[in-house]
Amino acid sequence: MPLSMVNTGRRVRLLTVKAGRGLQARLAAMGLVPGVELEVIRNSHHGPFIVSVKDTRLVLGRGMAHKIEVE
């Protein structure tokens, strides 16, 4: 399911990022690689939201969150 559907406080594993190659590389550099564990820190169902990955807090735009597949 897309990351944008995950509720606050849930831990999930990243499967793929459905985005252009440049963006994929950028996200990878920030720690978002397939297989990594994410925790959703804030998802208010409007606007951007916050995830925790490799002990870093990242803000993702809602559009971005739709493109990230997790399980």
């Binding site: 963006l23 916050i50 490799k54 971005m64």
Partner: protein, 840 residues
């Protein structure tokens, strides 16, 4: 000296890189731009152990792909400028993510030093490093550091010198990407060796890796189609094996390498570095509280900037006033020397008008530096993103736009915090629509002249609101035309909160302030001189009105008034005592105006007058004259003290201080009256009924001549020339002329309107000017003036700063032209509609 070394500092954003850089170089920094891009380039020098070390602070990056401007700049620098040593600043409390960049630096095969910054925080979180072992695994020396406390700087310098001097050898290790990828890498390296490496002078293994990652920059630099063909095939093979793009596998392997190295050498009791940060964030990024907290902080920033900045602004104004006075001394009192006018009106007036904003700018950048260094800025962007996203802008754009209400210049400089060029340019271009502080005097002059008191507030509010609405529309239009394309996907790190360092914040603030000062010294100086020439030349040889006649008439009135004084002083009607004495004074002033204060003619005239008066004092009724002079001096002095206190202290008539000064003045005057009851009223009659009207007449002649000069000047002619075009907006040539001056700085509009309307240099509170305006224009025209001033032509400081920040004249001129056209179109619409509705 043993030699020169260039050291590049690389690292993730928020790794404390700038603090390390400040520790290494102190204040010996130079800020510029990388050629062709808006990315800031900071360099600094340090002489250590006989080496002249040049440090380059590369932009903060997460990797070395060609994804963002910053990454390209960092990569280009390392590959093309070939620094002797690269120092990678790593946030030790977030090791794995930070080491990802280090793996790529290792592949570039430049001597690398790893700095484990914030090792104190990491230790406090319960992380233990086996530094020696980790250093061996990563193939680079590791220096633990606490940059905030300036610990570890000397150790780093020692290591740099040891590496540069060859006492220490750099022994890089290879990341193993697994059999399949390694095989393809070998293939590509072989192809490169046969067909040539193209135009990027770097290590073949790095190049091969980047090609496998389908890196745009790497591919562009390859000339040989054989190599590109081979790369394509390799990628296809790998995609078949892994079912994914090779770059994903490669980054996965890099993380694997990093976590492998850490597993053996880093023991962690896994306490998140975010515990306190998360608590703060629970409030600051809260759905309901986040926005009020943000608004509160912005209000504080605004208050800090524009209230604390007010006093130093007055000091600077006073300083420039004093400077003009000092320079004026070099000319005869009544001199019309062009050089004096150039120095005083052109240069000091122009540059002074810009430097006056320096306190605001320093304070503002202090506030921004605090917000940025503490980590709040990222939260602010998070909170504002939803709103700004609707206009097609980035969350961070909100801050520069808010600053724009104070002054466009620091606002445009603040757009540096936006990484994406499209976001940055859009924000920059719409910022002048936020009505800046310099436009306030224009509204303050016009609104009370044309509108009833109840409308003052709403009118001002409407003007500001129009600006905001236009900015939103303009941003949307720009975003969907010129700066089309998806806005940068919103991914941003929220760094843990940190206490900003004093030194870092001050350096941050001063850098921006210095840039602004340099601007004032160069471009603005030049344009000030041009504008001065436009409003001062050509001079008029013959005036339309014979001012000598008017002047003679005023003098005649003065003498008649003096003659009438005899009655007030109980002198015989035929006595010419006052006529002689006061006449001599007047002639002396006239004579002296042609000489310098120190010239002997000036002094001689003074002496001649003094001796004549002394003689008269000895003669018949001499005592009356002596007393008159004494009382006149005392009253004048008392009034001068009062006026000076009011102007210097900028005391408003309704304030209690004013009451105190007023009563002091009254007490002094009453004292004088008690001592000289017979002549006190006579002296007042002279001062207020005879001398004052005469001075007034002279001033009016001066103002009318000034007005004629202005009309005749190039600016005046341009104003006349513009009239057919601006007639449609309800404007006449006078407004046209003032518009030319408003280009120098918006507030000059008011002063120039004062000159063309012959009321002298007016300010926002000038009643005389308001009366003239009210007689000449309708409220509709008045509204159109405000509208036009709101939208049109950003001031020259803005144009200059946009030119600098966008790195091209193109955008500066585009903004100038675009906003002026927009202003014309909207004002035209409003004026013509208003007229049709019968409002004009």
């Amino acid at each position: 000296m043993a030699g020169k070394i260039t050291v590049a500092l690389a690292g993730n954003p928020n790794s404390g890189k700038t603090t390390v850089f400040n520790n290494l170089t102190g204040a010996r920094q130079h800020v510029g731009n990388y050629p062709g891009v808006t990315v800031e380039k900071k360099t600094g020098r340090r002489v250590y152990a006989g080496y002249d070390i040049n440090f380059v602070d590369l932009p903060g990056t997460y990797s070395l792909t060609a994804y963002s401007m910053e990454e390209m700049v960092a990569r280009h620098f390392i590959i093309h400028e070939k620094p002797d040593i690269v120092v990678d600043i790593i946030d030790a409390s977030n090791l794995e993510r930070n080491l990802y960049l280090a793996t790529q630096l290792m592949e570039l095969r430049v001597p690398l030093i790893l700095v484990f910054n914030m090792s104190d925080i990491a230790r406090a979180q319960g992380t233990e490093f086996e530094l020696e072992q980790l250093s061996e695994l990563l193939g680079a020396p590791i220096i633990p550091m606490e940059a905030q406390r300036n610990k570890g700087t000397l150790e780093l310098l020692d290591t740099i010198v040891a590496l540069a001097g060859g006492e220490k050898k750099y022994q890089p290790v290879k990341v193993n990407y697994g059999r399949e990828i390694e095989k393809e890498l070998e293939n590509i390296i072989a192809l490169i060796e046969i067909h040539g490496a193209g135009r990027e002078p770097c290590h073949p293994r790095w190049q091969a890796l980047k090609l496998l990652e389908a890196d745009r920059q790497a591919i562009e630099h390859i000339d040989s189609s054989e190599v590109l063909d081979g790369v394509r095939k390799s990628i296809e093979r790998l995609e078949k094996i892994f079912g994914d793009h090779p770059e994903i596998i490669i980054s996965d392997k890099r993380y694997g390498f990093v976590s492998g190295a850490c597993q053996e050498t880093v023991r962690s009791t896994t306490q998140s570095r975010y515990t306190t940060s998360d608590m703060v964030d629970a409030v600051v990024t809260n759905r309901f509280l986040g926005f009020p907290v943000f608004l509160g902080l912005m209000y504080l920033v605004f208050q800090l900037t524009f209230t604390i900045g007010e006093k130093p602004m007055f000091w600077i104004e006073d300083l420039f006033g004093w400077l003009s006075a000092q320079i004026s001394i070099f000319w005869a009192v009544g001199s019309t020397s062009p050089l004096k006018s150039l120095l005083v009106d052109g240069i000091i007036g122009g540059v002074g008008g810009v430097i006056v904003f320096l306190p605001n700018i320093l304070l503002l950048f202090l506030a921004i530096a605090l917000l940025e260094d503490s980590g709040y800025m990222a939260r602010a962007a998070f909170i504002m993103d939803r709103l700004m996203h609707k206009i097609g802008l980035h969350g961070k754009s909100f801050i520069p736009m808010l600053i724009g209400f104070g002054c466009s210049v620091p606002a445009i400089m603040a757009t540096r915090m936006l990484e994406n060029r499209r976001d940055r340019l859009t924000t920059m271009l719409v910022i002048p629509l936020m009505s800046c502080g310099a436009r306030l005097p224009i509204y303050a002059l016009i609104i009370p002249a044309f509108f009833p008191r109840a409308w003052y507030g709403p009118m001002l509010w409407i003007i500001y609101l129009i600006g905001i609405i236009l900015a939103i529309i303009a941003a949307r239009v720009l975003r969907s035309t010129l700066f089309k394309g998806r806005s940068a996907p919103f991914v941003m790190e929220l760094p843990p909160y940190r206490v900003p360092t004093f030194k870092g914040t001050l350096i941050h603030m001063w850098e921006r302030g210095w840039l602004y000062l340099k601007k004032a010294g160069t471009v603005i100086l030049g344009i000030s001189i041009i504008l001065w020439a436009l409003t001062s030349y050509p001079k008029k040889d013959v005036y339309d009105i014979d001012y000598t006649d008017i002047k003679n008439q005023a003098a005649a009135d003065f003498y008649a008034g003096v003659e009438r004084l005899n009655a007030d002083f109980n002198l015989p009607p035929e006595s010419n005592l006052f006529l002689k004495a006061l006449g001599a004074e007047m002639k002396t002033v006239e004579k002296q105006s042609q000489y310098y204060r120190h010239e002997k003619e000036y002094i001689a005239a003074e002496r001649e007058k003094d001796s004549l008066i002394a003689e008269l004092e000895q003669g018949e009724n001499g005592r009356v004259l002596s007393e008159f002079i004494e009382v006149r001096r005392d009253i004048t002095e008392a009034r001068r003290i009062f006026n000076e206190a009011v102007t210097v202290g900028r005391i408003k008539p309704e304030s209690p201080d004013y009451q105190v000064l007023q009563s002091n003045l009254n007490i002094t005057l009453a004292d004088i009256e008690r001592c000289y009851p017979q002549i006190y009223n006579g002296v007042l009659t002279y001062l207020d009924r005879v001398k004052a009207p005469y001075d007034e007449a002279l001033k009016s002649i001066y103002q009318r001549r000034q007005s004629e000069d202005m009309t005749n000047s190039i600016a005046g002619r341009i104003g006349h020339g513009l009239e057919p075009a601006i007639r449609l907006l309800g404007f006449d040539w006078r407004i046209g002329t003032a518009l030319i001056g408003a280009f120098a700085a918006k507030e000059v509009f008011v002063a120039q309107m004062g000159i063309v309307f012959s009321v002298g240099e007016a300010d926002a509170g000038s009643e005389a000017l308001r009366i003239k305006l009210k007689k000449t224009y309708t409220p509709l025209v008045a509204f159109c003036i405000m509208l036009f001033m709101l939208i049109s032509t950003p001031c020259l400081a803005t144009v200059a700063v946009v030119r600098r920040e966008s790195n091209s004249w193109k955008w500066a001129l585009f903004q100038l032209g675009g906003l002026t056209l927009l202003a014309y179109a909207i004002t035209l619409l409003v004026y013509q509609t208003g007229r049709l509705l019968g409002l004009g």
